[in-house]
């Protein structure tokens, strides 16, 4: 699906649009010298949760962008589940975050860059909720480059 734009501007798909918002969260992490990963949760076209990696600030290796965005969204909804919601995240979720998405019964996960080492997609069994649809590779290069450049700059310093 693509939105029609009558102003002659480039059209953008909803997934591209929302991944851009997740990228903004990742850039916020970068500004705080965190690994630049960002996530948002969208329900019926509305952003109801945001988060970025906070492992350094919280000194908590489990404070991933997805965990922040999912709990923020669930809090906003005042309910337990996120059955009508899409999680957008700039990097393929790890096993912990994919496992969390199971409990929240997220309808859809859209991620940017693939993470072959730590991403949940390396598992040969499904660990997300049976109803969760997965889309990977949205704005993949921008998402990957943010993380790549971050680690490159860390190695130099």
């Amino acid at each position: 699906m693509r939105y029609i734009n009558f102003e002659g501007e480039p059209t953008i798909s909803p997934d591209d649009f929302f991944m851009n918002e997740a990228l903004n969260e990742a850039k916020q992490a970068l500004a705080e010298d965190e690994i630049p990963i960002g996530a948002i949760v969208v329900c019926k076209g509305k952003i109801i949760g945001r988060g970025h990696n906070l492992t350094e600030r919280l000194n908590d290796v489990s404070a991933h962008a997805e965990m922040q965005a999912l709990t923020a969204a669930a809090n906003y909804m005042g309910g337990k589940y996120l059955q009508d919601c899409t999680l957008y995240v700039t990097l393929e979720p790890c096993v912990m975050c994919a496992g969390a998405s199971y409990w929240f019964q997220v309808a859809r996960i859209v991620f940017g860059a693939y993470d072959q080492r730590m991403g949940f997609g390396r598992l040969n069994q499904k660990i997300t909720h049976p109803k969760t649809e997965i889309t990977g590779g949205i704005r993949e290069n921008e998402c990957a480059e943010l993380v790549r450049n971050f680690f490159k700059s860390k190695r130099k310093s």
Copy 2:
């Protein structure tokens, strides 16, 4: 390994002893009408983190006992990793919690009851840290019975 007790009292293994502490946390959850699952983190014989299931109170389906105990322990340590620590939990951890234990680099996971439906052990690939040792079935019956009775009473009411 069993501690020697010179008083003629029944001896108790360290794993039994600490699982009893996790069971006390589970009973605390029960008193709060939460699914009775408890966890503690032990470092060199000292309990440095405690937690029990808080999914109802926090209205957060990811607020598992293990997540509470792990973050409490990491907070206490003031460091990121729990490489010398053992996580004791009354129920076999789910994929999310096992995934979290990876990031914390927990040395050992000891659990009570097996959870064939949601436990991470159902996966045919290792998702815990390569250095993490796993022991299951410690005080299995007591741990299982707590959860079983909880759901039985819920179905009646």
